[in-house]
């Protein structure tokens, strides 16, 4: 059914529903982006950690522990 045949009230309701769906989708996309970023950062961190000497690991652990 084309939107030309819908009543104004129906269209307003439909628009509200679609806006809500869009909002939810955007929130989900944002949450997924944050999670992907987090995983990417962890992958990078693991690779960098593998390049550190035992002394550097210890020094960095202490430095990070101080930051809380």
């Amino acid at each position: 059914m084309s939107i030309q045949n819908k009543s104004t009230e129906d269209l307003i309701e439909l628009r509200l529903a679609l806006q809500e769906d869009t909002r939810q989708l955007r929130d989900e996309i944002r949450a997924i982006s944050i999670e992907l970023d987090r995983r990417h950062d962890m992958d990078v961190a693991k690779k960098l950690a593998a390049d550190l000497s035992p002394a550097q690991r210890e020094a960095l652990r202490n430095e990070l522990a101080q930051q809380g």
Binding site: A45, K46, L48, A49, L60, A65, Q67, G68
Partner: protein, 201 residues
């Protein structure tokens, strides 16, 4: 003449010439730009064998002159010959100075660049004016929160995630990279990094 090493260094907005490990001259980016133009001109003249006047550049108390003689480009500091080099080396030198001068200029004008970049981001033009991470971060903040920009270009939701794709070349040590990465992470993720470090290789 024994083997000489000449390099160009930069500390924030200052460009320095280092000869055999010793700092010969430190100058603001504007002076560095003048110097690279002088070296470029003398390099071209040395190649072509044309006669040109010596070019003198002053920065604070230091005086640096550039001229060419017998096909070589000469750098003279306070009346003493610092180094003479064939045009091919002189060209590498002025190109290095150019790169460092541009970087120094970028730092000196960081605030303006960040605002310009913010305007571009907000207007939807997704290309980068800079690949300096701090300036980019500032631009993203400005694009999202600058009141004047938001009222002038209100079409973008202020909660939208902004970003500009860049190619960056990482030259820092893994230690510094990991330290900075962890510092940007939320606390729970930082703990995960700590656990990774504790596990050992």
């Amino acid at each position: 003449m024994p083997i000489q090493t000449l390099s160009v260094a930069r500390e924030k907005t200052v460009v320095a010439l280092i000869l055999n490990g010793r700092r010969v001259m430190a100058m603001p980016w504007q002076t560095a730009d003048e110097l690279r133009l002088a070296i470029r001109e003398q390099t071209r003249a040395a190649r072509a064998g044309t006669v040109t006047a010596e070019i003198t550049i002053r920065s604070g108390s230091a005086v640096l002159s550039v001229r060419h003689e017998g096909g070589l480009v000469l750098l003279i500091g306070d009346g003493r010959l610092l180094i003479d080099m064939p045009p091919i080396i002189a060209e590498r030198l002025w190109r290095s100075i150019l790169v460092q001068a541009r970087k120094a200029e970028e730092v000196a004008k960081a605030g303006q660049i960040a605002l310009d970049q913010a305007l571009l981001i907000r207007s939807g033009a997704f290309f980068g004016l800079t690949d300096h991470p701090v300036i980019r971060a500032e631009a993203i903040k400005e694009a999202g929160h600058n009141r004047l920009l938001r009222s002038a270009i209100p079409s973008i939701r202020s909660t939208e995630v902004f970003g500009v794709p860049v190619v960056s070349h990482e030259t820092r040590s893994p230690y510094l990279q990991l330290r900075d990465l962890a510092a940007r992470m939320p606390r729970d993720q930082r703990r995960a990094v700590l656990a990774t470090l504790a596990k050992g290789p």
